[in-house]
Symmetry: C2
Subunit: 362 residues, 2 copies
């Protein structure tokens, strides 16, 4: 068990947004709720997966919906607590800890405030090792943990307790409730035992995010190259460097969807990169050729600040690095690719690990 | 307390479909589930409103969605029990009785099977004295009873427990869940005490429906005029007699909507009647003049059989009587008309009680 201070939270929010691969929400908004909890005198305690007893109950917590809406409809902070309480009361058992379901500027930090206010620790783990747009796109799902019973809440104190026949139905119904809530919902879901957690979660995602955030900050302070530091900590690859010349964006079906066009600069001059997104960046196509795709991570970093650019904030004129980071091996299995490979998202693309694509290019 | 036999159920289903004013579902399908419960050895017991103790818990049960979908997707019978159990377990109190929320071929009879299988009586009352398309269109709502906590279930055993900030939000979110369920949901809602029931419910709707159904059957058997018998029992008015020459129908937003065009025959020859519906018949316009509107009841009866024609079954070629029946006085208050008057449904029509319109025509 370790406690997080403000600097840890700032690092976590930035690093998680890098792993959020365009989604998972804005790191600035994310850190606010957690820092506010500290300011109110709450403690934020983090435990490792192996510290969680096998029979303990863990309930992840998160925001759901389009990040383009969340930035305009900032939560009161009580919504997610409301969802968490609704589910834990329904289960009627003592809850040992909460945790994130994904890595992202918001969804890595929201559970911190939940844990703080409920007086329970946050498990250093998640169910994606990145961000994904749909509820069943988790390593929990791949390993047989069910999304429901799940609770959803909004800022009007509307709450829903959902039990579905499978995880796809959970996504299908919860997504619509999210839309009727006005585009965002606050959720508690995937209740699981410590034993299930150890099998199904990706351990250490929060620690990795903190390291990534710290690397960016420290290298900037020492006038070093933060992009190199990020690539080093994440085992990532530089994919492109350029200026954003067009963003097509539509909020449909409760998601932020669109394409980002980037024109190369410096050594990439004359080349073009197209990035497709659905909340998260999904596929990067350089001059007609796929150079990275889900489930591997594609992240845009601001050329000057090295801060991650999320899909709801991306706009014309930004100069950015585009980097690719290998996903968890759990995503590279047959089941993993079926759940979150490029074909699931409608792309006629055979997934190739980014290391292979980049190795072949050198 | 009295028990219903098969004949009572047949009468109830037909009479309730007359009060269902085009909605509330098909009486044939409705009676099947109740008669099946009798065949399985269950008892169906009905209590009067005044028999219910003030502190007893009553939970109404119903089907929700488009009747055009229900007739093609016939329920297994376990869905509504599932919804009922979900809500009663959540409330954690003994349930004294169930009851219908509206009068209709399906929604008056589904609660019979629920009561039978749960071993509790059904209260002879409802919350509309007719059928209406939306959840907040009840005398419960007018009298301050809340729709939620409410449970919804489908045939895949998906269940939702909903708590909303008001009754309009309950309709808004439940309607969408119904759509995602595939067009129909099975619901338990408006949990209330005996004391609330006595203030907010319309008493005797089931008994009235049984009388109407019996009147149709008995007059047909004695070669009398069943239409006159219906008008007599219901204090209703003959509005029109004609042949259906066109039906425009669309299933949108989870509702069956459309218009029915009827060409006059016999003494109505040369005249035309247009009936607008949204699950239920809402407005009847004769040669451009409104002759009946919500919240008063507008019902089509088959010219030969005197059986009510529901909006999902209405089609070209039927010859029918159109009758109008005065609604409960609770609907004629300012609050009642605000909730279910013609203006709520988007018609620029000032509501006039059908007795006034008909009186003025004589």
């Amino acid at each position: 068990m370790r406690s997080l201070d403000k600097e840890d939270i700032e690092n976590l929010a930035v690093g998680a947004a890098i792993l959020g691969t365009g989604g998972g929400g804005d790191p600035y908004l994310g850190k606010l709720t957690a820092i506010q909890a500290l300011d109110e005198g709450y403690e934020i305690n983090v435990v490792d997966v192996k510290e969680v007893p096998d029979d303990a109950l863990v309930i992840p917590s998160a925001g759901m919906g389009s990040p383009t809406v969340i930035v305009e409809k900032i939560p009161k902070g009580t919504e997610i607590i409301n969802a968490f309480k609704t589910l834990s009361e329904y289960l009627g058992r003592e809850v040992y800890a909460t945790m994130p379901i994904e890595a992202g500027g918001l969804n890595s930090t929201f559970p911190l405030a939940v844990g703080a206010k409920m007086g329970i620790p946050i498990v250093d783990a998640d169910g994606m090792g990145r961000a994904f747009p749909e509820l069943q796109m988790t390593t929990f799902h791949i390993n047989g943990v069910t999304v429901t019973p799940m609770a959803l809440a909004d800022e009007r104190d509307n709450t829903v307790l959902l039990k579905t026949c499978d995880n796809y139905w959970a996504e299908w119904i919860a997504r619509d409730i999210t839309i009727r809530f006005g585009g965002t919902a606050w959720i508690a879901l995937y209740p699981m035992t410590g034993k299930e957690l150890k099998k199904a979660a990706i351990p250490g995602t929060m620690g990795l995010a903190e390291k990534l955030g710290a690397a960016v900050r420290e290298t900037k302070e020492s006038k070093g190259n933060p992009i190199d530091a990020v690539l080093d900590v994440s085992n990532g690859f530089e994919l492109f460097k350029g200026k954003i010349v067009d963003v097509v964006r539509r909020t449909t079906g409760g998601f932020a969807r669109g394409e980002i066009k980037i024109e190369g600069i410096d050594e990439y001059k004359g080349q073009n990169l197209l990035v497709h997104f659905q909340n998260e960046n999904l596929v990067a196509i350089k001059d007609g050729e796929v150079i990275a795709s889900v489930p591997d991570l594609i992240t845009l970093l601001d050329l000057e600040t090295a801060m991650p650019i999320t899909t709801e904030a991306v706009k014309y004129g930004y100069r950015c690095f585009v980097i690719g980071i290998p996903c968890s091996e759990m995503w590279r299995t047959e089941k993993g690719l079926e759940v979150a490979g490029p074909k699931y998202f409608g792309y006629d693309v055979e997934y190739k690990p980014i290391e292979e694509i980049m190795g072949g290019m050198q």
